[in-house]
Subunit: 392 residues, 3 copies
């Protein structure tokens, strides 16, 4: 196979690959290091990506595809995902094609080449895999599952935008000791020896998913005070703070702007910019009480301490500390307050009482329990709602 020498030749080469038979642009691809089972080495326990490519770097994809073929692999573009073992031949073939860029590689430039460069002299290549995702279909491999989780956690894909079906079936439940996963079965087989030899590992968690911080580096102004509080696959906008009290952000859930998170953001729930999830507040997820309707909390909203949010909220909303607003909660609104809310939310009908779900997505509403008679009421909140221009 011929080596690519100039950047123009590289362009031609990429165009050739992309015109080749059956070629499809990958949604995502990357090379990962895998942890294998201690007892069942055919089991992939974890896949760690030094670098991911998600709807980007199609030139590098072409290089990898071409190098795979050169290394003897057949590529079935009709599959939704494919996983290949890395070989020395593959690495060398890839680097040859990258020749015109080698001299400018480093820092933030040409990171796929950097990956190959670190790999080229390693003697544990059996632990590295090249992964392509062509369709956003149900997951079939641990490696592709991690690639999608990375896409979410690295903010390359939007929350709720990916097909994560099959993830729970594909991932193995393992014991995590730091970044290292252990098969439970191996621990059981080795328990006597490990304990007598004082080598029993310190287990941080037992789960199918690793923690976000095992794989993802947050922005400088993002804080996660306890790594156990954010699962891999969560997404945290820059400026998010996750406190360690009663908080939790599950996979496929998170924040889209600066926010303070002291409560729970269940899988599928999203919290907007400037919003605050108070200490112990719960945002229910599709698996926990919302009848399958995922919850978004808008911008500049506040969930009070120990409140429960079971409906989507608009912008500038407040749920008072300690109360639960669920789909079936009956909420009374006085005529005067309803009028104010209708100014912001023209779609709101005129009636004295609403079910929680009838207030889904409404802006500027403050939910309170009247402390004299126990009635759940709503009124215009004092938090600012930045109205969308299209509305007026």
């Amino acid at each position: 196979m011929k080596t690519v020498f100039t950047k123009d030749e590289f362009k031609d080469f990429v165009a050739d690959v992309q015109k080749s038979d059956g070629y499809r642009e990958p949604i995502g691809f990357g090379i990962c290091r895998v942890d294998l089972g201690q007892k069942n080495p055919q089991k992939v326990l974890q896949a760690t990506y030094p670098l991911t490519n998600w709807r980007e770097n199609y030139g590098s994809a072409s290089v990898f595809i071409s190098a795979l073929k050169e290394a003897g692999a057949e590529i079935d573009f009709s599959k939704s995902e494919i996983v290949y073992s890395i070989s020395k031949t593959f690495i060398e073939a890839s680097l040859r094609k990258f020749t015109p860029f080698i001299s400018e590689t480093g820092g933030d430039s040409h990171k796929n080449i950097q990956v190959l460069d670190f790999l080229k002299n390693r003697n544990d290549l059996h632990l590295f895999r090249l992964v392509f995702i062509f369709d956003d279909a149900p997951l079939q491999s641990v490696e592709a599952t991690y690639l999608k989780l990375y896409a979410l956690s690295q903010k390359k894909a939007e929350l709720r935008s990916l097909n994560l079906n099959g993830a729970f079936g594909v991932l193995h439940n393992v014991a995590w000791s730091g970044n290292r996963p252990y098969e439970l079965e191996w621990l059981r087989d080795s328990e006597i020896e490990l304990k007598i030899f004082n080598m029993y590992p310190n287990i941080d968690s037992v789960d199918k998913f690793p923690r976000f911080l095992q794989h993802v580096i947050p922005e400088d102004n993002t804080r996660i005070l306890d790594a156990s509080k954010v699962r891999m696959g969560a997404q945290l906008a820059a400026g998010t703070t996750v406190m360690p009290g009663a908080s939790y952000i599950n996979f496929n859930a998170g924040t889209t702007g600066v926010s303070m998170v002291e409560g729970r953001i269940s899988s599928s729930a999203i919290v907007g910019d400037g919003s605050d999830v108070g200490g112990g507040a719960s945002i229910l997820g599709v698996l926990s009480g919302t009848n399958g309707n995922p919850i978004s909390v808008g911008k500049n909203s506040l969930l009070g301490a120990n409140s429960v949010c079971g409906i989507p909220l608009g912008d500038g909303c407040i749920i008072d500390a300690g109360i639960a607003i669920l789909e079936g909660t009956k909420v009374s609104i006085s005529e005067g307050e309803l009028k104010k809310l209708q100014e912001l939310n023209p779609e709101l009908p005129t009636q004295p009482t609403f079910k929680g779900k009838e207030l889904a997505g409404i802006n500027g509403v403050h939910f309170r329990q009247n402390s004299e008679n126990g009635q759940i009421t709503a009124f215009r909140s004092k938090r600012e709602v930045k109205l969308n221009d299209e509305l007026h």
Copy 2:
């Protein structure tokens, strides 16, 4: 002392030991590795059991008792618990008696022999202890306390079935760094040196108890997303998931079936199969508000997010998100709903209002706060209650 050569001779040998003067069957026994105080080496900070025996393996118990005698120990069967140091003589004497089983030892077979086998060439035998518990009496040693905690956490003894009195007095409060306990006093003495030499240990917790996952390997379908959330001495049925948000399972508390735990199961509380402890929900314990009555939650019940459960619940119950049902809570039940509940619970008297404690253990009840008037009400839940045949 004579060596046992055949399995028949082994049986005779065991029978002889069991007929010997004062012999009592142990409730539990095992060999543990101890961590000793850095400053006060007579203090046992932790006992780690490679293997426990609980109401089982009486033949091995006989071997150990006989080998102890051979090694010069006197055994006082009148005590509730005894702790012996292990010696090379003891190990060799034990292995001699186990001769007929040596060849078939390995995997899941003859684990007590495996323990001896790993021990026999070690030169740190002063760290290993043989422990017997003969009576379920108040605890006197760290080693016996750990053996009972193992029995609970390994599901060999039922929750609430063991006498744990004395545990808090016997266990030392230590700083845990991974699986390693440090005396606080030693840390204080060594602080200046450790900090200057950059060797100050990373402390995960300061407690008398270790964490469950330091000692126990859960089933493959059990998940604990944060090791700090389950104390040693807790019991988790296979299929239990413990989320990391606001959950906690204390010692002598836990689950008896598949369950989702996102809230707190206080010491003495038990949650049944198919039940769900919602995010931030609290099940009170005997030390925290139940007047000494331990709480069981039945099967297929649901505690909503941030609810508080201060009474025992039957099967198929629901406490709505955010409300507290305590012994003194007044609960209104309409005539129609009361009738439905009485079908399931014939013992329920006819009256318009119940105190929480009068509804203890009732099946199929759904607790809610009326959002229009603040009244706490109960009605027949929509969750399935599988009626016990004896009831009908």
Copy 3:
């Protein structure tokens, strides 16, 4: 410079230093080890104090000041804080002045000399800094910030007594792996290499503050079941237990006596002796709902599970499980109960309803939501209030 030989000469020497031009008594001082940035070595990521001096040990301060001068440093007493690099000359000069105490150094005696003694043969002195705080002014350096956090956490300064302004600006947000801080920027630069070489660190948290237990050794009867639950700068009285469920104690917050903490003590909040913060209970902080009024909870008070405390409480108070008492909550009190409360709290006016903030600091009050009509009520609690003699 002359060496001090006798204790009397030492006294004279100290008096001389203290009379010297511009001398001011430091509020606090100490030598710390710093962790520097992996990418930006001029950044101090953490300062670890083997020993702190806070309004004490002025003799040692004089030695250090004199030795600094001997080592060529100029000392500007007009600054609120100063940070000096340590040199061999400084250590030797200090030790010479401490001569009369060297022979009696060890154990709890002359700990500043012990620090010097461990330092004197080290070859990483560039990592050690001498810090003085002369004014309790806004913070300017990482080293001084840590010294104030130590003063709070080691109970040398009272909660809320120190000026912590500037701390968030001065401290860097870093990734903590055990006791070791990493620059996020360095992790980003090194991600590919670290992940391929399987050397990516296990990150426990990302925060500006370390955890309390990374720096402070609690009393023997104090328990912290999860290190992530207490931030550096918190203060825990002996006998405090912090459970791992939904608890959190922020910096400049904590307890002043024996207490059980299963909930959140926000920054600026203080809990008194014998009080109990129930599972998931929230005490609001000045940044979270109290309009800038810091909350104190008195002695022997109880916050029920999942309650929210938004006002200061006196002694012997109870907030029932699951309810929120905020500044604006309307609380009804019957005539009879009000009379009982007025006996304890003569300042309480006679009226049927109070706003939460009108009950701030009142003793012996029990807050409850009437479960028949949703009304928030208050009455005389059954918890003992030990009346201050001055009141009667």
